[in-house]
Symmetry: C2
Subunit: 194 residues, 2 copies
Amino acid sequence: MEIRRLIEKGFAVKKFRKDSIIYEPGMQPKNVYFIKTGEVRMVTISDEGKEFIQGVFKAGQYFGEPALLINRPYLAYTIVNKDSEIIQVAKDGFFLLIEEEPDFSMALIKTLSNRLFYKSMMLEELANEKAEHRLLTLINYLLADVEVGNALRFTRQELADMTGLRVETVIRGVKLLSSKGLIFMVKGKIVRGM
Amino acid sequence: MEIRRLIEKGFAVKKFRKDSIIYEPGMQPKNVYFIKTGEVRMVTISDEGKEFIQGVFKAGQYFGEPALLINRPYLAYTIVNKDSEIIQVAKDGFFLLIEEEPDFSMALIKTLSNRLFYKSMMLEELANEKAEHRLLTLINYLLADVEVGNALRFTRQELADMTGLRVETVIRGVKLLSSKGLIFMVKGKIVRGM
DNA sequence: GCGCCTTTATGATCTGGATCATGTTTTACA
DNA sequence: TGTAAAACATGATCCAGATCATAAAGGCGC
């Protein structure tokens, strides 16, 4: 798919080590980032140092377009979760991609729509719902792309950082949901049932 | 701009009275809605009846695309704020618009990016920041498209429904921000200073 | 298998903002 | 321009979840 095409077109692949920071808030966007291998997280960090995970991006996905497209400084950090290979496509190249690759433009629109869907869902949860409800909604959303019978590969801390809750609250919440039969657990892991 | 083109192309303009509901959560998306005149709000409503304002859309803007594009049922209500004239463009027509109007596709991508920016900003606020900070961020964002010296045209209740706070908290918060000189008020209205 | 770091667990206390109650002031429009 | 409705205001109480503290399991490299 896309990534191979980019390499063919001569874009350089750059390696990033775990925990390195690809960009931080306030920086003026220069590139869009296509992940060849590895994983990154996009997080905002409050004055008190609390992380909020805006998104997690994996091989085959890209990130950093919105800020570039509307020409505003980044709001978030993007930090490397696992050693990664990433292709940086500069502004002009990205615009060319949108204009000249007919499918890419449509795929981008759908990608942005999916992210909006997720953020709208989470906004409603954070604004209106209590811990238990928030957690259940997030877990169900995340389980949708886990194979039946497999475990959710997020720690309690990560669930906390995605819901704006604290680890302790997530731990207690997960127990509660499990005891109510709303989620299924195997050996302390949340598992997609049925 | 776009709206005129749509009318030329023979799309019918439909009238909606204030308070009527254009669609509700769970409905399968069939159209994208272009506002010729008037104003609507997109809101999610919790089980306890609390509204969260996901967005406000005015003349010249459109809404309802993301759900249509990714083919998922709506998450939110869209409710008419003021008597409106709205052009409904069905799925096929909208896809045609994207494919055939070269500028439209790019404009849509930027629109989606702007909405993502706003939602990311608010997610960070709701997840990590206290009432006062939340309010200040929202107010500054909203003031950006108010003329210098003009007042913000949102009620305390609306600010509450955009921040996930309660009216009383917004009222107290606005006073506090004003007393600290972080926002400027004239006759009880928040005004864009400088 | 042993030690060390990460993750999960659980109890006790504290607090920001919700909730409830009851005005007062502004705005809309008849 | 009078009046009802909407918006703003303020005090008192309450509570979900944060915070703090301390410990038990898991995982993983050597």
